[in-house]
């Protein structure tokens, strides 16, 4: 497998895309940027290479397994088994690190009790783990920090109470440990771990035992094909921290332009709203950037703006869009400053405006700012592609559609479900191109 990898180190998440020689996407990976681009880069790449392995397995096994649903079931189970193995491995690491952190002057006289409590928590966490990765299990997030954190907090509270220990003390130990664990890149080879996952599969999914027996050999054969990382190109805000030479680093403007072109070859205008910047990019029929504009001096109206508003409203950022969709009207929010918008929001709430109407107004405010950046870059040309994390927000998309139609008429608006990977896709295409040249 010759792999061409693009990595987009964003302010919130880090994404990776693996392409094959024919420019087909083999795999995608995403992780939180965790203020440590080096680890984020390794994790995202690891995830993308893992996904690439699954793509190759699917291709390789398609002829062996006649029923497509059976194959999907098998591969889905294999992935869950892999994730479970990975999760437990990280739990072990977390436990060990927690025990290590629970030493010293602060814990004097209570070390044994704390260690016991930590061990008890992890016994529960480990025994709960298979349920997290069971078929049809719903997880709010796939990031280890989120999964382990929410369980630790739930179990920790009870354990602390039972042991007569301060919950804050345990939480403090956890907070210190998770940072270290999260910043340790995944260890071990994907191949070995997948073989381990295959072995566990019979135990986890006995109903698949026939299939596992049939597929074990072909899977092993497929995994024996080495993955050759031919070229890697990095982009995004963290790109300067990458240990890559200059030729292996591209600006996110170029990567987003090319990525959007690869998804929709007729794209001429690209809008990307990410965590801390909004970019409007004009590309030609080859995906080459002709012009661009970005937000300047201020990041109001970007993804983080929504994060701030969500905090103010005591909500999750992903709940904002659905809430705004329930609005019957849109409250006008004038302020372009994030903090002032928060003040305006409280003011409107005090005046008795409905939450959903205010949130709808905030979405409109974001898109109005984006419209100004679009017009400065030269306006909207057909086709228009919207990318970045905010493209997943249905209320933002609704406002954007309305304003595009009102200002530029009937243009095709593309929003790809994988739009968050646009920059990484463009970077991977540059990686492929570097080799082609």
């Amino acid at each position: 497998m010759r792999a061409f990898i693009g990595i987009d180190l964003g302010s919130t998440t880090t994404k990776a895309v693996v392409l094959d020689e024919n420019m087909d996407v083999l795999g995608r990976g995403i992780t939180n940027s965790r203020s440590n681009y080096d680890t984020a880069c390794k994790v995202a790449k690891y995830e993308a290479l893992l996904a690439a392995r699954f793509t190759l397995l699917q291709r390789g096994l398609a002829s062996t397994v006649a029923a497509e649903t059976r194959l999907e079931d098998f591969l889905g189970s294999l992935e869950r088994s892999f994730r479970l193995g990975q999760f437990v491995e990280q739990l072990d690491d977390l436990e060990e690190t927690c025990l290590d952190k629970a030493k010293g002057e602060r814990f004097k006289g209570r070390e044994a009790a704390i260690a016991e409590a930590i061990q008890a928590i992890f016994v529960t966490l480990r025994s709960d783990a298979p349920a997290l990765f069971a078929r049809d299990a719903r997880r709010k997030s796939d990031f280890f920090r989120d999964l382990a954190g929410s369980r630790f907090m739930a179990v920790g509270q009870q354990t602390a109470k039972a042991a007569g220990l301060s919950y804050d003390l345990l939480l403090n130990v956890y907070d210190k440990a998770i940072i270290e664990v999260e910043n340790r890149p995944p260890s071990g080879e994907i191949r070995e771990k997948l073989i381990g996952a295959l072995d566990r599969l019979i135990e986890l999914s006995p109903e698949l035992s026939d299939l596992v027996a049939d597929l074990a050999a072909p899977v092993r054969r497929a995994l024996d094909i080495p993955a050759e990382e031919v070229s890697v190109v990095g982009t995004g805000y963290g790109r300067v921290t990458l240990p890559f030479s200059k030729e292996h680093i591209r600006s996110e403007i170029l990567c987003h332009g090319l990525g959007a072109h690869m998804m929709y070859p007729d794209t001429r205008t690209v809008l990307d709203i990410g965590g801390q910047d909004t970019k409007s990019i004009q590309v030609d029929d080859q995906g080459i950037v002709e012009n661009f504009q970005m937000n300047d001096r201020c990041a109001a109206g970007c993804g983080r703006y929504l994060g701030y508003i969500a905090d103010e409203m005591n909500m999750g950022v992903h709940e904002l869009g659905p809430l705004a969709m329930q609005a019957t009207r849109s409250v006008r929010i004038n302020s372009t400053c994030t903090v002032f918008a928060g003040a305006e929001l409280r003011d409107r709430l005090a005046l008795g405006e409905k939450r959903e109407d205010i949130i709808a107004g905030l979405h409109r405010a974001i898109i109005l700012r984006a419209m100004s950046i679009i017009s400065r870059s030269g306006g909207v040309r057909d086709q228009f592609t919207f990318t970045g994390g905010v493209a997943k927000n249905e209320a933002a998309v609704r406002e954007l559609r309305q304003l595009i139609v009102a200002n530029y008429g009937d243009v095709v608006i593309n929003i790809n479900p994988d739009s968050i990977y646009t920059g990484a896709l463009g970077a991977a295409a540059f990686a492929r191109r570097a080799v082609a040249n």
Binding site: M23, L254, M262, G287, E290, A429
Partner: protein
């Protein structure tokens, strides 16, 4: 030419300029003791040769703001001015000046600057200049001479405009200079000064135009702001300026002959990768960092409009001893700052072609409404006319709060890569949709 002579040659013009600037600050510091009068005046449309006829020392508030910006002193001055009620959106040259005055009027070189005896408001294109001196007049309660220079609204300088400016010089400016200084106006002295100006201007233009060569031996923006120093400020018309430009020209001629690129703070630029035209002033508080973002990428500015705010000598204008006052009037009317948008676009287009530039970069100044207005339209028009890529960045003159290095670097890098990509063309971009 060997490396050693290049170094010596480089030093001589720089040392000369340094000496000239500190010499002028010394004159200002000692003005009261020496019994000399002081005029405060602006760069675009300044009447230095005329001021010199009255033995008046020239103090330029814009230059003080720039010098303080380079020395990272303006942040505090601006805060001081804001504390005194000047809004965040006011021109930061103005606030840096007012803040400096409020904090004791200590000049960039650490010595107290004298109060002006005359505010000579000869300015072009920017109404903030007028408001600035209104504030200074309130502060100093001194004589003010106003020279109104009509704006080139239709892109032309008419005979009437020239005679209108000359009339004001005769009836307003010269009598006030005579009254303040006690020196009688001598037109022959003015002619001598103008002859020296023309001589320096000749060498200055030669230096600017050396950037037409590939590689360019100069950076016409980051290096250019040093080269304009004497001719834009208190030295036009002096023998020192003649000498400075003679030295500079010789140095650049050597670099040109040796096929060398510009000198940067990190030494000689090894390879010229991008040739740019730049519109707008540089950021002064992070000048070195800003410059580094260019030379590290091999980007050379081959022509800039900022180096024309104190006169468009490369378009053929020279101060003329044969028609002294008329030539000063023509100079004021012709400054870049006094040109309308179509004329600015034409000039940039001309530079793009004559200097074989890869693209245009606009550094738009947050606190300068006079010149930032319309810059995006200029950019679009240049793109349309030349087919070359253009980029737009934003910063400020001397307010350190408005220089966001990560964002500016990001945009510049994107721009340079965009130029690269456009050069390669679409052929090697894989067209397959994912």
């Amino acid at each position: 030419m060997n490396a050693r002579t290049a170094e010596v040659a480089k030093d001589s013009s720089m040392l000369k300029q340094k000496e000239m600037i500190s010499g002028n600050y010394r004159k200002l510091e000692n003005a009261v003791a020496d019994g000399r009068k002081v005029a405060a005046t602006f760069v675009p449309g300044n009447l230095n040769e005329l001021i010199m006829c009255f033995d008046v020392v020239n103090n330029l508030p814009e230059i003080n703001a720039i010098q303080n910006g380079l020395r990272k002193k303006t942040g505090g001055y601006i805060m001081e001015a804001e504390k005194r009620g000047h809004s965040e959106d006011v021109c930061t040259y103005v606030k840096a000046d007012l803040g400096m005055i409020a904090k004791g009027n200590i000049g960039p070189d650490g010595q107290k600057l004298p109060d002006p005896d005359l505010l000579l408001l000869s300015y072009t294109g920017c109404f903030t200049f007028m408001k600035w001196f209104e504030l200074l007049r309130d502060q100093y309660k001194c004589e003010t001479a106003m020279l109104h220079v009509p704006y080139q609204g239709d892109g032309q300088v008419s005979k009437n405009m020239i005679s209108y400016v000359v009339k004001q010089m005769k009836e307003e400016v010269i009598p006030k200079l005579e009254r303040v200084s006690g020196v009688k106006f001598d037109i022959d002295r003015l002619r001598e000064n103008l002859a020296r100006s023309a001589k320096a201007e000749e060498d200055f233009v030669w230096v600017l135009e050396s950037a037409k060569a590939k590689p360019s031996p100069i950076d016409a923006y980051f290096g250019g702001v040093y080269y304009i120093g004497p001719i834009f400020t208190a030295f036009r018309g002096t023998q020192d300026a003649v000498e400075y430009y003679r030295l500079l020209r010789a140095e650049i001629a050597e670099r040109l002959a040796a096929g060398q690129g510009p000198v940067t703070p990190a030494g000689d630029m090894p390879a010229e990768r991008y040739r740019l035209v730049v519109e707008g002033p540089p950021n002064w508080t992070s000048f070195r960092d800003f410059w580094k973002m260019f030379y590290e990428e091999g980007a050379v500015v081959v022509a800039s409009t900022y180096t024309k705010v104190g006169g468009l000598y490369d378009q053929g204008f020279r101060h003329d001893p044969a028609k002294p006052l008329e030539s000063l009037a023509e100079y004021c009317l012709g400054c870049y700052t006094n040109r309308n948008l179509p004329a600015r676009i034409d000039l940039i287009e001309q530079y793009m072609e004559e200097y074989q530039a890869d693209g245009l970069l606009i550094n738009s100044i947050k606190s300068c409404n006079s010149f930032s207005a319309g810059q995006l339209l200029m950019l679009r028009e240049i793109e349309k006319r030349t087919g070359k890529p253009a980029a737009f960045i934003e910063s400020d003159l001397v307010d350190p709060r408005y220089f966001s290095p990560a964002n500016i670097k990001n945009r510049l890098e994107s721009y340079f890569q965009m130029v690269d990509q456009r050069r390669i063309g679409g052929k090697s971009v894989p067209a397959r949709a994912a």
